[in-house]
Amino acid sequence: MNNAVPSLELVERVLAADIGGIARMITRAESGLEECRPAMAELYRHTGKAHVVGITGVPGSGKSTLMGKLTAHIRKSGRKVAVVAIDPSSPYSGGAILGDRIRMSELSGDMGIFIRSMATRGSLGGLARATLDAVDVLDAAGFDLVLIETVGVGQDEVDIVQAAHTTVVVSAPGLGDDIQAIKAGVLEIADIHVVSKCDRPDANKTIVDLKAMMTLGLTLSGASGWVVPVIGTSALKMEGVEELVDTIDRHREALESSGELIERQKRIAERRMLKTAEEILRDEFKKHRDGKVSVLIGQMMAHEKNPYAAALDLLAEVRLEGHRQ
């Protein structure tokens, strides 16, 4: 990073909502290099204003298309919207094809909209490691809403609940023949259910099935007394999009008035701290693989040290590292 702009110099540009500055800062956060930590720390102090909406659902359910319409609609109220769209990295090459933008091309002329594609780079759970760092950058830059499109992995994307204030689960008609395709785990994380592609004749059955399943008590409405709605949308006919925007806004209000927002913020903070600690540990492990780690492994293989004791030694090592900073 010798000739590169120092990350700390990008902070001011981010706070001034400079697009190039925001974009570069996200790249730095994604790189995970030490160099960007002080800048990210400074930006974090400016976060906490944006409403973060997670949009999840099986591959091809229409998430990106819906986000395009949703974003365009929210813009009508003058609010600034950022989108972070996540796609999987190839486990073989580490590379990725990020194609969600294709479905949002109508948004490209508007300066109040920022779209960023992100690869999972080995993360499971539907998000990338740096997703919430990117959200911080966008939040600090003054975007009123940040929409996250998770990887469409089907039932594994529970991470979004610990990342977003409002979680929208998108189901499309005909993807699985019956509603069982929407696994209970995904069903339960929704604050709002969307049945997309309602221009299709089989959509009504999906809505009916979904509603029936919810009355069976398969959804938790949370402490706020929020009743999880099912909204039919059609990006083709521009139906249901306005209702969805209104519902997201109503959900925000319900979170605020019930105190649930603070609970969720706490949940997000807890999860982030734990996740980050795990990441630090993994990185340290890699860094010391030829040193301390290999010594400990030698001791384990000689049965001089048990795994638990070796792990404690590793943690002690990491702590020493931390103090040095």
């Binding site: 990073m1 010798n2 000739n3 590169a4 702009v5 697009i19 190039g20 974009a23 570069r24 996200i26 790249t27 994604e30 790189s31 995970g32 290099l33 990295s89 190839s90 073989y92 090459s93 580490g94 590379g95 990725a96 094809i97 990020l98 194609g99 933008r101 294709i102 091309s105 490209s108 002329g109 920022f114 779209i115 960023r116 594609s117 690869a119 780079r121 080995g122 993360s123 740096a130």
Partner: protein, 138 residues
């Protein structure tokens, strides 16, 4: 997984009227398989859309494919927009079907590489990697 700082980000766009994307999709897959993050933006993009997306995505490289013969207006426009937006550290490359004398003209105005339709995949990958290395960190 990788720390990512070394992962090249490239935006692939199809500009112009023709509606074939098989070629660019193959290129996109080749680049992914070499470990790059490939932002694929689809068909019929305008230079304005390409540049705006490239800046938001903070890509190292833009790869524009044109088959419909409008390259002598499209590439200069992209380069001009990048300059206007102080984003001319983004490397512009092109592909498709372009006559030799126009390849020279485009190279002169700042298109860093023209990869014609039958360029072997490995050459495409190596060219992109070389251009990014030559540009250095930013």
């Amino acid at each position: 997984m990788s720390q990512g700082s070394d992962i090249i980000r490239i935006l692939i766009a199809k500009v112009g009227l023709d509606g074939h994307d098989r070629g660019v999709k193959i290129v996109a897959r080749t680049l992914r398989d070499s470990g790059m993050d490939v932002i694929y933006t689809g068909l019929h993009r305008t230079p304005e859309e390409v540049v705006r997306a490239a800046i938001q995505e903070d890509v190292d490289v833009i790869g524009v494919s044109i088959l419909s013969g409008a390259h002598m207006t499209i590439f200069p426009r992209i380069l001009e927009l990048l300059k206007e937006n102080k984003a001319d550290d983004i490397i512009v490359t092109g592909g498709g079907v372009i006559p030799d004398e126009e390849v020279d003209a485009l190279t002169k105005i700042g298109v860093k590489a023209i990869l014609l339709q039958d360029t072997p995949p490995q050459t495409i990958v190596e060219t992109i990697q070389r251009l990014v290395t030559e540009r250095g960190p930013r």
